[in-house]
Amino acid sequence: MGRFFIALSALCCAVIVAMTAFVLGDIAYFGWEKLTLSFLLAAPEQGMAAGGIFPAIFGTFFLVLIMTVAVIPLGVMTAVYLNEYAPKHSRLVQWVRLAIANLSGVPAIVFGLFGLGFFIDFVGKGMDAAFFGSRLVFGQPAILWAALTLALLTLPTVVVATEEALRAIPDSHREVAYSLGATRLQMVRRVVLPQAIGGILTGGILAVSRGAGEVAPILFTGAAYFLPYLPKKLNDQFMELGYHIYVMATQSPDVEATKPILYSTVFVLLALTFVLNFTAIWVRSRIRRRLRLAK
């Protein structure tokens, strides 16, 4: 009786592993086949049926770069406040933590609506009215707005990872800094942040991996189906890998013809996210080891 249920629970594990292997194996097998260097470096041709995906790769990198610049300072400062400044267990800290947990549960498509309603229609249109004489400059879908939308979406990731690293630093380090006459900010800058760099890195990498894979938030905030040029300014639209996959998979006139290209694109996106994730896991495991040693 007991044995049967234990075997059943082991089966659950096996099923999950098998399904993951099926998904990844299929994509790796068919995606690797047609993958060439020129595919990575060329622009799409013949309505996506030929050519490469360079503009989508470039757009993805540009997008997550802007996102990182926005989310890292905000996330790190939030974590520093929670762990270094706020009195432990204060009401405010509890509210902030609750808000962060809730923010990470908001559906991605809701972030897309928010990006449209807030960044484009409110901030963008407002900037146009204030600085550009109501000329359409920022009040339209653009890479800046898509990146800021993603920054809000990935904020909890950065905060949680940074906080974990801050907690791994023994209190004695802080006390020594104080005893030498450091102010709190000096202590944070010279003692805490240099030691937390790994955690900040982990958070940043995980945020990039998440941001590079999310499509729903950028649907209406700046992603374009096809552009003959690369994005250069903050108010340009852009092509993106995930969006490229979505469009090719659902709106291609000839699915069979685009299938090899589609598979290779999925492979590239997946490889990108996995390389990022494994780097983050590796850095994090090193932090956790230090956390154990510190205790």
């Binding site: 009786m1 007991g2 044995r3 249920f5 234990i6 629970s9 659950c12 594990c13 999950i16 592993v17 399904m19 993951t20 998904v23 990844l24 994509i27 300072p73 400062m77 939030t78 406040y81 929670l82 400044y85 405010l92 509210w95 902030v96 609750l98 808000a99 809730n102 923010l103 549960g105 908001v106 559906p107 991605a108 498509i109 809701v110 972030f111 897309g112 609506l113 928010f114 309603g117 807030f118 904020l155 909890p156 900010l185 991996s209 590079a212 894979g213 999310e214 499509v215 649907l219 209406f220 995930g242 996959i245 979505y246 998979a249 999925v266 996106l269 997946l270 996210t273 994730n277 896991i281």
Partner: protein, 310 residues
């Protein structure tokens, strides 16, 4: 003078740090306000109410099909009940598929398996969690749909079962990770006491550890449910997107989230259709927000229970 300058610079940076702590609260608040603002005309604007008032959204209408979502037809119809039903159907399949698997796996790795199995499974689950939803959607559309169609003998290639299973793949890592945390948090003394009383490994796991971790496990399920309701790309790509008012799982379905994603790009800004789509977004936000609070409350209960006992 100089120290005064440094001090005031320090004050400014510290003010910035304090301010940024509010960013998450402010973000949530702005999301609610700016999506709600665009949804509000459905209740207040006479023009929008005439075409898409609450009664048109929720109550049966005259005609051969009392509930239909046809926002771009000549006489637009905005019944969102088929969309609710679609979300519910897909979510139900996902939950029924994902939760038993995830809980079974969590129980196995935390209670029965040797350590190396856990070390092996954790990265695999993280791998699964790291697959972007558009990739799962792609896989469900291109590969899984045919397998599911053959396995269940379904006429339509894209249907609620297919979308639900793909969605389940996205839910499994969430439920597994939280359930595993909850089970591991149960103090070792519980297990030792149970074994000392002569209970078997399975009896200990099912009668002692599992009940002790129950609040955390419920939280895991609630969060998985929340993720399933809001997930967009998987359902958009794998469900067939037909707003049909039926409980039949083998028919194509259209969910709330997929409707927003598919239609907002082409809608006229400020039209009733536009406002209805924002209303759907507001509803999704409110649902998931409530579910998150609920899950949070469960976790707090778990912590208190275990801290109180230890």
């Amino acid at each position: 003078m100089r120290t005064g300058g440094i001090l005031s610079a320090e004050k400014a940076v510290e003010a910035l740090i304090r301010l940024s702590a509010f960013s998450a609260i402010l973000g949530l608040f702005l999301i609610f306000v700016f999506i709600g603002k665009e949804a509000l005309p459905v209740l207040t604007s006479p023009e929008a109410r005439k075409e898409a008032g609450l009664s048109k959204l929720f109550l049966p209408q005259e005609g051969p099909r009392p509930y239909s979502w046809q926002p771009v037809s000549e006489i637009p119809k905005y019944s969102i009940l088929p969309l609710f039903m679609g979300t519910l159907k897909v979510t139900l399949v996902a939950i029924l598929f994902a939760i038993p698997l995830a809980l079974g796996a969590a129980l196995f790795t935390s209670e029965f398996a040797p350590d190396w199995t856990k070390e092996l499974l954790k990265p695999i689950i993280e791998l699964l969690a790291g697959i972007p939803s558009v990739v799962l959607g792609f896989f469900a559309l291109m590969v899984m749909a045919s397998c599911v169609q053959d396995a269940f003998g379904i006429i339509y290639r894209l249907n609620a079962v297919n979308a639900g299973i793909a969605l389940g793949l996205a839910v499994i890592p969430i439920v597994y990770t939280m359930a595993d945390d909850a089970l591991t948090a149960v103090p070792k003394s519980y297990r030792e006491a149970s074994i000392a009383m002569g209970a078997s490994a399975w009896q200990t796991a099912s009668k002692v550890v599992f009940p002790a971790a129950l609040p955390g496990i419920l939280a895991a399920c609630v969060l998985g449910f929340g993720r399933a309701i809001g997930e967009t790309m998987i359902v958009l790509m794998a469900s067939g997107n037909a707003p049909v008012m039926t409980w039949a799982l083998q028919k194509p379905v259209r969910s709330l989230s997929a409707t927003v994603a598919a239609e907002l790009g082409e809608v006229v800004v400020g039209s009733p259709h536009y406002h209805v789509l924002f209303l759907i977004g507001t509803l999704l936000f409110v649902f998931t927000f409530a579910l998150n609070l609920f899950a949070h409350w469960f976790v707090r209960r778990l912590q208190r229970k275990i801290l109180g006992a230890a």
